[in-house]
């Protein structure tokens, strides 16, 4: 039956992450953006919340919590509300752990999951995006060709988070001569896998992302996620997109709430600017778009939880919330005027981060 109510457990998780995002993540956001580094203690603290380890099975050292895309969406929204780059870094281990959990063979479960069920943060990375304007995850140029008992990977990837510190990188590539798509667990030290300089982006400056080159990178055939039958790639993609969409909601809400608070304080002509319709209506529209985006995200997530196809819904949610985040962040800068343009306030950071959602792919997964 239709319901818009979170379960008690979901509310608890959301509130916990929200408190962490507000008290710990947001205060660290500006310094992280300026320096390009996230304090290790902050990542350690977020790791202790169990947002990655929680859903891993007890047999592998996890807590065996139920895995839900809706719950994931809540976590991503809240943490991204604190800061997008920090959220992506903190949750990057999911990029390997969760696909392995869902699609992996028994051997892959045994080999990989325990590496993420540790007391210390373990980096994870996924390589999907390719450095070209019309990159399409359903028509990748990176290829994986079966050659005897191994796959040979060739191509170039970018926007690979934490590539330099991840033991294994999940590389997505076209298979069967372009007819299919798969994901491959590639150890970082594999010959033929080259990690480039750390990328320099408009936003996400605190998140270490890299170009990754694959030149005749040969891996064992058992390294294909899901074994010979591979993965449900459109589902994997939908899981990524729902996570990204949820993060876009978080960024939008961060910008909206900051602008709202500012508009109540800032006076012009002797009154708070929020009492002027020009500002008040802009805030009202921002509020609508934040809620609208979130509902689209929840709908797509709820389909994933029911095991239904969510390619279209996740795509819709991703595109809609990406556009909404950009518009809301832009309006937030506009609300603050000149003060929004200087780096003293976070809204310019929200705007730079929001713009990225048009390019991001594979930076998060529910």
């Amino acid at each position: 039956m239709v319901s818009f109510e979170l379960s008690e457990e979901q509310r608890m998780i959301r509130d916990t992450v929200a408190a962490f995002a507000t008290d710990e993540v947001r205060p660290a956001a500006r310094a992280a953006d300026e320096s390009g580094a996230i304090p290790a203690e902050l990542i350690a603290k977020s790791w202790d919340l169990g947002l990655v380890r929680g859903a891993l099975p007890e047999s592998a050292g996890g807590y065996g919590d139920a895995r839900s895309a809706v719950t994931g969406a809540l976590i991503f929204e809240e943490l991204a509300f604190g800061d997008l780059a920090i959220a992506m870094h903190a949750l990057a281990p999911r990029l390997i752990a969760y696909p392995v959990l869902e699609y992996g063979t028994e051997e892959q479960h045994t080999g990989i999951l325990k590496k993420f069920a540790t007391d210390q943060f373990a980096a994870g990375a996924c390589a999907i995006v390719e450095p070209r304007f019309d990159f399409d995850p359903l028509a990748m140029e990176t290829t994986a060709a079966l050659d005897g008992a191994s796959y040979v990977l060739n191509g170039a990837k970018c926007f690979v988070p934490l590539a330099a510190e991840s033991e294994t990188i999940l590389v997505c590539a076209a298979t069967d001569g372009g007819a299919g798509a798969g994901a491959f667990l590639v150890p970082r030290a594999t010959p033929g896998l080259g990690i480039g300089e750390r990328e320099r982006n408009m936003g996400l400056k605190a998140l270490a992302t890299y170009e990754v080159k694959l030149e005749n990178c040969r891996i064992d055939e058992n390294a294909r996620l899901g074994g010979a039958k591979g993965v449900n790639f459109t589902r994997l993609l939908a899981q990524h997109r729902v996570a990204l969409a949820a993060m876009a909601v978080g960024v939008a809400r961060a910008a909206y709430e900051y602008a709202k608070a500012y508009a109540r304080e800032r006076k012009a002509f002797g009154v708070p600017i929020a009492t002027k319709q020009a500002i008040a209506f802009m805030l009202a529209e921002m509020a609508i778009e934040v809620d609208a985006s979130r509902l689209l995200v929840w709908e797509a997530a709820s389909r994933l939880d029911k095991g239904e196809d969510a390619l279209k819904e996740s795509y819709q949610a991703r595109n809609y919330s990406a556009q909404a985040a950009l518009a809301v962040a832009d309006n937030a800068v506009q609300t603050l005027g000149g003060h929004g343009y200087i780096r003293e306030h976070p809204v310019e950071l929200f705007l730079r981060n929001a713009r990225g959602f048009a390019a991001f792919e594979g930076l998060a997964t529910v």
Binding site: M1, A274, A280, F281, D291, N319, A358
Partner: protein, 407 residues
């Protein structure tokens, strides 16, 4: 738990409404758009009879408990049926004989005895309508500024003033055994608190339909100007209490809007979906693909436009369902109802305009209904609180401002 799936019996019921829309509304849609002020009696009679079986098409109310104790999502389900019927034709939908907004006002403000007395008629006899008269030539969105007066005269009230934009006003006041709920002030010095609702029975002397408007769209629905000239109604036709106090009275009409705004949003969504379905079918016929999942940079302009329209319609629908669901759950939904209404009204206005643009000469031609839906859609950006009034309500709520602080 978050869930967007309806039970099979709800889906079946929705299909039934869709069949009504497809078989009974679409075939006469163009006819009653072109022949404004003509009356589709066959359709009305059929709907009047059918409402015995289907339940009233446009209704609002409080939470009802089903047998198993689970709340019955009556407002939410009404959104579904409304979307289907407005997918058929929004003007015809608004013209369906039912208690309408007048009935909603009786439900919101009347005593149990008054509800029974005034609403009983909708379960029997010939088709009847109920209307609400609040807007005046000199006040629309500022509905608290009504100048129509009600003066006590023995055991009657004498009503004087002019009301405009009464949906189904003519059918309620003159052409059926219905009624009009008119909002009038019993004490102008008391402001909002002095504004009270009165039930004026059809053909009461002193009540005249002075004009039926010619409109851009929703032409099958009559929009009346009603003049009250010393119109005397019995004292017990004042809904609720005659006492002038700061709470109650006018506040009840606002409460009515919390219930009706999601339904009006659902109306908008029905019209928007009609346009979107038409464009989808047309593109498919022309072998123009709409590819979901591929890089946005590889899409054609038509694909992008279409996907954007579809996403905005869905966003509006989810906001609408949430607002209705909250009402069903007994939650205050004032903010969410306005969000749904503001989003749906705007989205559907833009969607239908874009739909006409996408199909070029085909869309602009009156051979197909697309241009009509664009004209019909626009009303959703205006009635039941304009876009701007809803933004105002939202802004006050999110900023925690009173109407004095933000106006």
């Amino acid at each position: 738990m978050i869930d967007f799936e309806f039970e099979p019996q709800v889906i079946n019921q929705t299909r039934m409404y869709h069949t009504v829309a497809e078989r009974m509304m679409r075939p006469i849609s163009r006819e009653y758009d072109e022949r404004e002020h003509e009356h589709p009696w066959d359709f009305w009679r059929a709907m009047w009879t059918a409402s015995r079986n289907l339940g009233p098409a446009a209704d609002s109310g409080k939470t009802e408990q089903a047998g198993d104790g689970a709340p019955k999502l009556r407002n939410l389900y009404t959104c579904l049926s409304t979307e289907e019927l407005c997918w058929g034709d929004a003007g015809l939908y608004l013209s369906i004989p039912n208690p309408g907004l007048g009935g909603a006002a009786v439900s919101a403000a009347g005593t149990p005895e008054q509800k029974a007395r005034f609403l009983k008629r909708f379960a029997e006899g010939e088709p009847k309508w109920g209307a609400m008269a609040i807007t005046e030539p000199g006040c629309g969105s500022d509905s608290a500024a009504v100048t129509t007066t009600a003066t006590r005269d023995g055991d009657h009230w004498a009503i004087n003033g002019t009301k405009i934009f009464c949906t189904a006003g003519q059918m309620s006041a003159e052409k059926s055994e219905g009624f009009v709920v008119v909002w009038a002030t019993v004490d102008r010095s008391a402001g909002r608190a002095g504004i009270k609702p009165f039930v004026v029975e059809h053909n009461t002397p002193g009540m005249t339909v002075a004009r039926v408007e010619n409109k851009l769209g929703i032409r099958a629905s009559d929009t009346a100007m009603i003049v009250f000239d010393n119109c005397r109604v019995p004292a017990d036709h004042l809904l609720g209490s005659a006492e002038v106090k700061p709470t109650g009275g006018f506040k009840d009409v606002m409460a009515t809007f919390d219930a009706t705004r999601p339904i009006v949003a659902a109306m908008a969504i029905g019209v928007g979906r009609a346009a979107l379905d038409f464009v989808r079918d047309y593109l498919a016929e022309q072998k123009v693909p709409v590819r979901y999942g591929v890089s946005p940079r590889r899409l054609t302009a038509v694909e992008r436009d279409f996907m954007e329209m579809e996403a905005h319609l869905k966003a509006a629908r989810l906001l609408t369902w949430r607002a209705a669901w909250m009402l069903d759950m007994g939650m205050r939904n004032n903010l969410e109802a306005s969000m749904a209404k503001a989003k749906a009204g705007r989205a559907v206005t833009l969607i239908t305009q874009k739909a006409v643009e996408l199909l070029g000469p085909v869309g602009y031609s009156r051979k197909v209904l697309l241009e009509k839906w664009m004209r019909d859609a626009k009303i959703n950006d205006i009635f039941e609180g304009t876009q701007q009034i809803n933004l105002m309500i939202i802004a006050r709520r999110i900023l925690d401002y009173s109407s004095k602080e933000l106006n």
